[in-house]
């Protein structure tokens, strides 16, 4: 039985499809080969082939809050797509379409709650990621650029939470948008213009909901994915957030 299974597996690994995708038959056998595969393979090249002993310490990595926020974002993307199938960004139907998702759609309540709780957790995770980076001094030279990207990512995450809060078009979301747009209105010189841009009118209404919907489901995800790619590229270059005090001084 086991032999047959292994034979089938071997057959798959020798098949044209497998070879065409992975360009190699077996798994790496030696340490050097394993490291090389990690660098070359498109699917795992983002993962570290090795990490520094220090950064495996829980007191240093704080449960990898950055990784957790990334996975929460993946959950949010997937559940968000499912929610988009039913959600209608119209002032008449937004609230009812969410009630429909929760009460009538199979697994809808689960999707919505996953989206909601992942979103709340993501704010939490992003915040603690930032605190961790601050306390471990990982923002220091030469990694300042990644800190700046991280701050932008925090802003995007908060905007995500804010725009998502508006979409149900309930009392909470409606007045959140109302208050926020009035705060924007208070900006010197450009305030009234910014308010009109945010609302798509002089008062909260259908254009405002549509704008925040588009921002929530397109503008912000695209910006976040782009900046996260930059963020990861920098992390990879900096050897996966190796503690700065173990870093060689030559690059400073």
């Amino acid at each position: 039985m086991m032999d047959k299974l292994l034979l089938i597996l071997q057959g798959i690994r020798r098949s044209r499809v497998w070879l065409s995708i992975f360009r190699r038959e077996g798994l790496p056998q030696t340490e050097a080969d394993r490291l090389a595969m990690n660098r070359r393979n498109f699917f795992v090249h983002i993962l570290p082939a090795k990490i520094h002993k220090e950064s495996a310490r829980l007191s240093y990595n704080w449960l990898w809050m950055g990784v957790i926020s990334t996975w929460l974002f993946v959950i949010l993307l997937l559940t968000g797509v499912f929610l988009m199938f039913y959600y209608v960004p119209s002032v008449e139907r937004a609230y009812d379409s969410i009630r429909e998702i929760v009460n009538a759609v199979p697994l809808g309540r689960w999707m919505r709650n996953m989206h909601k709780w992942s979103a709340e957790l993501m704010i939490f995770a992003v915040f603690f990621h930032m605190v961790r980076v601050f306390f471990t001094g990982s923002y220091q030279k030469p990694r300042e650029f990644n800190w700046v990207i991280g701050v932008l990512l925090l802003v995007i995450t908060v905007l995500f939470a804010f725009s998502g809060y508006i979409l149900p078009w309930d009392q909470l979301g409606y007045y959140a948008a109302k208050i926020a747009s009035n705060i924007a209105d208070g900006t010197p010189f450009i305030g009234p213009y910014v308010k009109q841009i945010l609302l798509g009118g002089t008062d909260l209404g259908q254009p405002s909901l549509l704008r925040w919907y588009v921002i929530h489901v397109f503008v912000l995800p695209m910006s976040l994915i782009f900046l996260v790619a930059l963020h990861f590229w920098r992390i990879r270059k900096d050897e996966y957030s190796k503690p700065y005090w173990t870093e060689e001084r030559k690059r400073r």
């Binding site: 213009y193 009109q196 841009i197 798509g200 009118g201 254009p207």
Partner: protein, 187 residues
């Protein structure tokens, strides 16, 4: 510092070669095209048409009002005053929770000036919009007035003016005294 230089090669004195010129031309037109669109984006984002109720409305002709009159326009929730100086439009919406307050009445023992009272939570306003008592957080706003070309009185409740703003019956905007309520003729 000595630099090795091949003196047989003459460096061009002018840096504007044909290649560079064409390069500038190409990139310049790209920048013009992209910049031209980009400068329009802020205008694109600002809504031009809004499907909202209009902020201006007419409230009849100046001759419809007698001097000393205080007329509530219930549908639009403003009071129109005709004082000896001219017209004033005052919001009828209590700044506390948005009820319509009652018309102004003569001075009383408690409030020795002309005042209006909101029936919901007891806010009291003076004729110049000040809050005399109760929970109202802000004074009442006065609105801009103008005469339409066909001689109607028009209120713009999106434009707030000071309480010393008056519109004369022939359509001139003037600054007058703080209204103290002595303009209202109580019947």
């Amino acid at each position: 510092m000595e630099v090795d230089r091949d003196s047989s090669v003459e460096l061009p004195i002018s840096s504007l070669t044909r290649r560079r010129f064409l390069g500038w031309l190409g990139w310049g037109s790209v920048a013009l095209a992209v910049g031209g669109i980009a400068q329009g984006i802020p205008y694109y984002l600002k809504p031009q048409l809004t499907y909202e109720p209009t902020t201006t409305f007419t409230v009849g002709r100046p001759s419809d009002y007698q001097v000393g009159e205080m007329r509530p326009i219930e549908a639009k929730r403003v009071f129109i005053f005709r004082t000896p100086l001219g017209f004033q439009a005052l919001s009828m919406v209590c700044t506390h929770l948005g009820c319509s307050y009652k018309p102004f009445g003569p001075p009383s023992q408690e409030y020795p000036i002309v005042h209006a009272r909101c029936p919901c939570h007891g806010s009291v306003f003076a004729r110049d919009g000040r809050v005399l008592g109760g929970p109202a957080p802000r004074p009442l706003p006065f609105y801009k007035l103008e005469l339409t070309p066909d001689g109607r009185l028009q209120v713009d409740n999106a434009t707030v003016v000071p309480s010393t703003y008056y519109l004369t019956a022939d359509g001139k905007e003037i600054e007058g005294p703080q209204p103290d309520g002595s303009d209202i003729k109580f019947s």
